[in-house]
């Protein structure tokens, strides 16, 4: 296996403490660049590392930083998105619990590169322990002079604020996240303007995922070339994959991008539990369309393998489903989640998600009607691409895939007026 970029310290005892972090190369990257390397050079370095946003969209991080107007009259901000809410995803959590200083160092270096004096970490409301650990690490960093005024005596100052969410999936959307930090309802904003132009408190704002920022110290330490040495042409470096569901060894695995999906399930994770047959794989968090066993045959886990409606790398949350499961039930459960999490501001998502859930629940309970699958697909079509934020697409895509790929299960439910599983 290749060198670990993100998880090199997770096995160490007390890996979350400053002492352990410093003993194992921590804050070396910061010392190397702060006040010594020109911020623009740093942005270029991250650009050439081809580091892509690990939250799900895969947008090149360096390019995102480059969008920020250097001469903005308004203060610039960095927000770390730790609102890990996508069902199946639990990678940022590991990075926060086991190596919070790596994240903090990444935030400081990134802030220096972008010219930010105030940074935020927006952590999901349900992460109580994680927030406590992060808070502790931030305190340690302040005391050690890595945060606050005149860091390391090199003339750069940074305030880092931990902001806890209140339990809303949609706040993982960067514009809703900003609304929430500002103290408003977590409703996504219209784009444009994009956050890099008008973001937090109307200042230019960069929002990066925990995993993205945690990779920055490595890139700075070892150089962009070392980072691009692993992975594929368009997907450099390693990625954390959270595997859950019916596998023998679920968990978080750091693997080079381009790693084969089949190998992940059958070798890394020890295969399907109980030696059962694979029914489907949700490849990148609950909002990505489900894949049939034949679709993962030669599938490489990389951004360039993604295509709308087909495989999506997403957040790297692989949910493995074996032959025992009722796909209508799974669709209903997914629909329930999105109906519950819809912020409700825009019509197709607010009404469409709940309607979808009601129909799926009815079918699962044995009260399905002829034409329900077609109706479900048409409702999804009226949501897909019609909403203000990506939650509408996130809700519609998995349902479309399940109805299309497991149509006979829906028909059986309706014909037999019961769940055949």
């Amino acid at each position: 296996m290749t060198e670990s970029v993100l998880l090199s310290r997770v096995e160490l005892e007390d890996s979350h403490t400053l002492t352990v972090y410093e003993k194992n190369g921590g804050y070396e990257a910061l010392k190397k660049v702060l006040g010594k390397v020109d911020p623009e050079e740093l942005v270029e370095e991250v650009k050439s590392s081809r580091l892509r946003g690990r939250g799900g969209a895969g947008f090149p991080a360096g390019v995102k930083w480059g969008f920020v107007d250097k001469n903005s009259p308004k203060p610039k901000y960095l927000a770390c998105n730790a609102d890990e809410g996508e069902p199946g995803t639990f990678k940022d959590r590991l990075l926060i619990i086991k190596d919070p200083h790596q994240l903090i160092e990444g935030i400081i270096i990134s802030s220096y590169a972008i010219g930010v004096a105030t940074a935020f970490i927006y952590i999901r409301g349900e992460y109580h322990n994680e927030a406590d650990i992060l808070e502790g690490a931030i305190d340690e960093a302040y005391k050690a002079g890595y945060l606050g005024k005149n860091i390391l005596g090199r003339g750069f100052s940074l305030e880092l604020i931990l902001h806890r969410g209140a339990g809303s999936y949609v706040c993982g959307d960067e514009t809703a996240l900003m609304e929430s930090i500002e103290g408003h309802r977590g409703n996504p904003r219209l784009k444009p303007p994009f956050p890099a132009a008008v973001g937090l408190y109307e200042g230019p704002t960069v929002i990066n995922n925990v995993e993205t920022l945690s990779a920055v110290p490595y890139i700075v330490n070892k150089g962009a070339d070392a980072y691009t040495a692993v992975g594929t042409k368009e997907s450099a470096g390693t990625k954390l994959f959270c595997v859950s569901g019916n596998v023998n060894k679920p968990g978080v695995y750091e693997l080079p991008l381009g790693f084969p999906m089949k190998k992940l399930i059958y070798e890394v994770c020890g295969g399907i539990s109980g030696g059962r047959k694979l029914k489907g794989v949700i490849p990148g968090g609950s909002s990505t369309p489900i894949l049939l066993p034949e679709e993962i045959e030669d599938l490489e886990l990389a951004y360039e393998s993604s295509k709308p409606g087909g495989f999506m790398l997403g957040s790297g949350a692989v949910i493995v489903i074996d032959e025992r499961w009722c796909m209508v039930k799974i669709a209903a459960r997914l629909a329930k989640f999105y109906a519950h999490e819809s912020c409700g501001q825009c019509t197709p998502c607010r009404e469409g998600t709940t309607w979808t859930y009601k129909i799926l629940k009815r079918i699962e309970e044995g009260n399905g009607r002829k034409g329900d699958p077609e109706l479900l697909l048409d409702i999804q079509d009226n949501i897909l691409g019609k909403t203000l934020c990506p939650l509408g697409d996130a809700a519609a895509m998995p349902i479309i895939a399940i109805v299309e790929k497991f149509r006979e299960e829906f028909d059986r439910h309706i014909e037999e007026a019961r769940c055949p599983f």
Binding site: S168, R185, L190, A339, H340, E341, S342, C343, G344, Q345, C346, T347, P348, R350, E351, G352, T353, T354, W355, K358, I359, R362, R369, L375, D381, N382, G385, K386, T387, L388
Partner: protein, 501 residues
């Protein structure tokens, strides 16, 4: 300027215009619900989605700024399907009760449903059901009709700047409501009803009183204070059912305050004056117009000769009425005996409740009085009353005061008081010897000058009551009666017009 094409129509619009505005300015209708020209753009109802060449997704017309060479399609099958989808979503939980809904005829959802709705619903689930709710103040909230456009919330938060009203819960359960419970307190609640495109917020004062299509909106100007908000007085069969704001960017934008809206109730509990009256003992008796004006004329003549008669012009009167009063007073009442009175109130509370329109001058025409050269001599008149130099007063335009007469003057010391008014208040009953009818403000035409100096001419919204005649004619007759000549209306009006300018 930016050149673009909408539905094959070549347009040139100003830079920074949105697609929706570019379309509306050029007679192309794009349906919209959450968009409101005076509120912040939210782009959430999704019914204004349009297709733009080169863009993968449909975009909201309300929020997309035009670009040179842009090609927009508002009628393509893709767009029409999206609109039908949005309308279907908005109707699945809607009770579809237009026939018994007060908003019918004035409802954007109803209008668009007719165009994009299905004949038969595909929705076979239980409908969401919220109880109807009195949210205090002047509004009734019916969440079953709400389409979550947040216009009311944006009005309360962004225009009023009052944090008392917002959205509770989320997704399909969301509702608008008042923070920490309680009751709606802001002073502009009528505007929340105005901006609501559906029947979710209705006015307690108006709901179920009249179908909107029967109403005839007559352009008018609010006479409650010196701001002079532009209004529609909505009338059927000579009865006013509501007052609503009329757009004027220079005065009130498209808003008006609740005090102004309720002014049409001002005659609900008072006795109207529809014929001239004279007091005998404690009772008023009806007089003919001739007798009444002769009595008044002789008082003015006799007391005026010794400088003992005063004319008090309340600034509720129109410029024309004031000018004709001045003309009648010419040579009969000395200039130092003519004053205007205004009603000034403390509006701290109103301002705090978000009333950004109200003026502390509770009279519509103080500027008009000043323009005619009338000045504030209330102090001198008071001195004259106290020194018994003034023995008679004629009041006009004093309906702005709750008592119908200015409280500054002690009328017990005045021997003769005449009031030209539309209402018989307790105070007038107590003080007046002669009462001459005046048309109610909704029933007269005239010119008013607001606190910003903007001159606004209004027409009567409602026909005058039987027997009540315009004050210009009353003063022409009075002038003739004082001079003991016969009235020459034409030259009197000409002179009035000259003074009004």
């Amino acid at each position: 300027m930016v050149n673009l094409t909408i539905d094959d129509k070549k347009l040139t619009v100003e830079e920074g215009t949105t697609i929706l505005n570019a379309a509306l300015q050029n007679g192309i209708d794009i349906p919209h619900l959450c968009y409101h020209p005076n509120l912040k753009i939210r782009g959430t109802c999704r019914i204004c989605l349009v297709e733009i060449e080169g863009m993968r997704k449909l975009e909201t017309a309300c929020s997309t700024i035009v670009k040179d060479g842009m090609e927009v399609h508002t009628r393509s099958e893709r767009v029409e399907k999206a609109r039908r989808g949005v309308i279907e979503f908005l109707l699945i939980n809607h009770p579809l009760n237009c026939p018994v809904c007060d908003q019918a005829g004035d409802c954007d959802l109803q209008r668009y449903s007719r165009r994009y709705g299905r004949e038969h619903s595909r929705y076979g689930e239980d409908k969401r059901d919220f109880p109807k709710h009195d949210i205090g103040g002047g509004l009734i909230r019916n969440m079953n009709l709400c389409i979550a456009c947040t216009r009311c919330v944006r009005f309360a938060r962004d225009i009023l700047g009052i944090e008392e009203y917002g959205i509770f819960f989320r997704g399909n359960d969301q509702q608008v409501g008042i923070y920490q419970g309680g009751e709606l307190k802001n002073a502009m609640q009528g505007c929340m009803v105005d901006v609501c495109p559906v029947g979710a917020l209705t006015s307690k004062d108006f709901r179920f009183k009249k179908r909107v299509w029967f109403l005839d909106p007559k352009p008018s100007v609010c006479q409650r204070c010196a701001t002079g908000c532009n209004t529609f007085i909505e009338v059927e069969d000579n009865v006013i059912y509501r007052i609503s704001p009329r757009e004027n960017q220079d005065v009130n934008d498209i808003w008006m305050c609740d005090i102004g809206r309720m002014t049409y109730h001002d005659m609900d509990d008072v006795e109207p004056v529809t014929f001239p009256m004279m007091k005998s003992g404690d009772q008023f008796f009806e007089l003919s117009w001739e007798r009444a004006l002769e009595e008044l004329a002789s008082e003015i003549r006799e007391r005026g000769e010794k400088g003992g008669f005063a004319l008090v012009i309340g600034t509720g009167a129109s410029v024309e009425d004031m000018a004709s009063a001045l003309l009648a007073a010419d040579g009969n009442i000395g200039e130092e005996r003519i004053t205007f009175v205004t009603r000034v109130e403390d509006i701290t509370k109103e301002k705090a409740a978000g009333n950004f329109l109200i003026s502390e001058d509770f009279s519509p025409n103080t500027a008009g009085a000043k323009k005619l050269g009338i000045s504030d001599k209330v102090k001198k008149i008071e001195d004259g009353i106290n020194s018994k130099d003034i023995t008679g007063i004629l009041f006009l335009g004093c309906e702005i005061f709750e008592a119908g007469l200015p409280d500054a003057l002690d009328l017990k010391k005045v021997k003769f008081t005449a009031v030209i008014t539309d209402r018989l208040t307790t105070e007038i009953k107590k003080s007046a010897e002669i009462v001459i009818p005046a048309p109610h403000w909704s029933r007269k035409s005239g010119t008013f000058i607001n606190s910003k100096g903007i001159l606004q001419r209004i027409e009567a919204a409602v026909k005058p009551q039987m027997g009540v005649i315009p004050l210009t004619k009353v003063f022409a007759d009075l002038a003739a009666a004082i001079d003991k000549t016969s009235a020459d209306y034409d030259s009197f009006y000409k002179e009035v017009e000259k003074r009004v300018g």
